[in-house]
């Protein structure tokens, strides 16, 4: 039971880290399709 709960906690942590990491790396769909000459929103 403890192994199961630790694994579920680890799943949550890995997911959040992955989400944060991918955004930092610029792999969001928005950033992938933006270029010098393209403005997305007001950023």
């Amino acid at each position: 039971m403890k192994a199961m709960l630790s694994a579920f906690a680890a799943t949550a942590i890995i997911a959040v880290v992955a989400w944060y990491g991918l955004h930092e790396a610029g792999f969001s769909a928005g950033e992938q399709n933006a270029g010098e000459s393209v403005r997305l929103g007001d950023e």
Partner: protein
């Protein structure tokens, strides 16, 4: 007043038009639809007609490249609205865009953005919304129905012998951690994947667009980010268990009696994992790795194309030809790569989900004493004797041996 009348008349005809068409079509169908009139393309100077386009959308074969490569000077004269505009017509431009031969320049987005019309997309869209959902869904429901039937006939597989009250350690903490990392994430991925695939068909009609929008955003977030936990769990499980999952002769005996699961009191010998579990293990590893690969290809759009190359290798080996297909396409537009990745990802996932449903059944309600192996890690000795006799012997032998003391001992003689 006159104009108003005209507008009314026009909108009336437009409203009526689909009805008229449908009537025509049904009439044609009842009359046998044998007469297929030679298509008259004079109105377009030989180019596609509306009827051609509609036929192509119905998936019929249409000679839509009749004018491709034609000498511009011999192009049809400009006749009527859809007529060719001399040597290089609008339709030539569209045709070049459609077949990917146009020289398109874009300021961002790279190769994928240069594809303005992706012809194969309709096939993919229809397949994804149609057969994929249908057969995938029935596969899962069918698996559940079979298991329910099995449960009704065979009932729970009980521990036949007298329970000893003693337990043996079956899986260490780290092994159970790896199992649940993989299992928890797989179940989340399965459920959210089904929401993303089937939501339009089943959630929107019942719960509405608003509800599906929320469910889809949440599912996408979970699906994209939890995938890493699955991959980590997969690698850990592989490392911990691969040595116990190499097939051997004992497996043949196990298979010969169907693992004893169909008959009370039949208990073929097995080591740590029996043949059935080895099949589960290798399915999880191989299909799981394949799902991970196609999933990464989807997670990083257009960065990891895999299909054109794979198709090339398969063609060289003659696999599709052997199966009676023509050669597979070796040139794929970036979007086609993504579409094949999506289909492969979903199909392999459906197969693994069906296998895992059976695994969950036998690991929980289906067999007395099994769950403890992954719950506490401690199993009843009698359970171990019945299902993994050779492994239990090994454990007993190991326990019977005097533990090596803290001193640096030499390896066994």
């Amino acid at each position: 007043m006159y104009r108003l009348f005209l507008i009314c008349l026009l909108s009336l005809t437009m409203l009526a038009a689909p009805g008229v068409q449908a009537q025509d079509a049904s009439q044609g169908a009842t009359e046998g639809a044998t007469e297929s009139p030679q298509a008259d393309r004079s109105a377009t100077g030989g180019a596609q007609t509306l009827e051609d386009i509609m036929a192509r959308q119905r998936g019929e074969e249409v000679p839509d490249r009749a004018r491709a490569g034609e000498d511009p000077d011999s192009a049809g004269a400009m006749v009527g609205q859809l007529g060719a505009l001399g040597g290089s017509s609008d339709s030539d431009v569209w045709s070049a865009l459609r077949y990917g031969t146009a020289d398109v320049t874009v300021s961002s987005g790279g190769a994928p953005a240069r594809v303005l019309i992706q012809d194969n997309g309709m096939w993919w869209l229809n397949f994804r919304q149609g057969p994929l959902i249908k057969y995938g869904g029935w596969l899962l429901l069918g698996t559940i129905a079979l298991l329910a039937l099995f449960f009704l006939i065979r009932g729970r597989i009980r521990i036949d012998g007298e329970k000893t009250g003693r337990t043996v350690t079956r899986f260490k903490f780290i092994e159970r951690f790896a199992h649940w990392l993989m299992a928890g994430s797989f179940i989340l991925l399965g459920l959210t994947g089904l929401v993303v695939l089937m939501g339009r068909k089943f959630i929107i009609p019942t719960f509405g667009h608003e509800a599906f929008a929320t469910a889809a955003v949440a599912s996408k977030w979970i699906h994209n980010n939890v995938s890493w936990a699955f991959m980590v769990g997969l690698v850990l499980a592989f490392v911990f268990w691969v040595a116990h999952n190499i097939p051997n002769k004992t497996d043949l005996k196990w298979i010969a009696v169907g693992g004893g699961i169909f008959k009370k009191g039949v208990h073929p010998p097995a080591k740590k994992f029996n043949a059935g579990q080895k099949m589960i293990f290798w399915s999880v590893i191989i299909l799981g790795a394949s799902i991970s690969a196609s999933g990464l290809s989807l997670l990083f759009p257009f960065e990891l194309p895999m299909f054109a190359k794979t198709f090339g290798i398969l063609n060289d080996m003659g696999v599709p030809q052997l199966l009676g297909f023509g050669a597979l396409p070796e040139q794929l537009a970036p979007h086609e790569e993504m579409q094949y990745a999506q289909l492969w990802h979903a199909i392999v996932s459906f197969v693994l989900m069906a296998i895992i449903i059976a695994h969950i059944y036998i690991g929980s309600v289906g067999m007395e004493g099994a769950y403890d192996a992954m719950g506490s890690g401690q199993v009843e000795e009698q359970w171990a004797r019945e299902h993994h006799s050779l492994w239990l012997d090994e454990v007993k032998q190991r326990e019977g041996e005097p533990k090596p003391a803290n001193t640096a001992t030499t390896p066994a003689e």
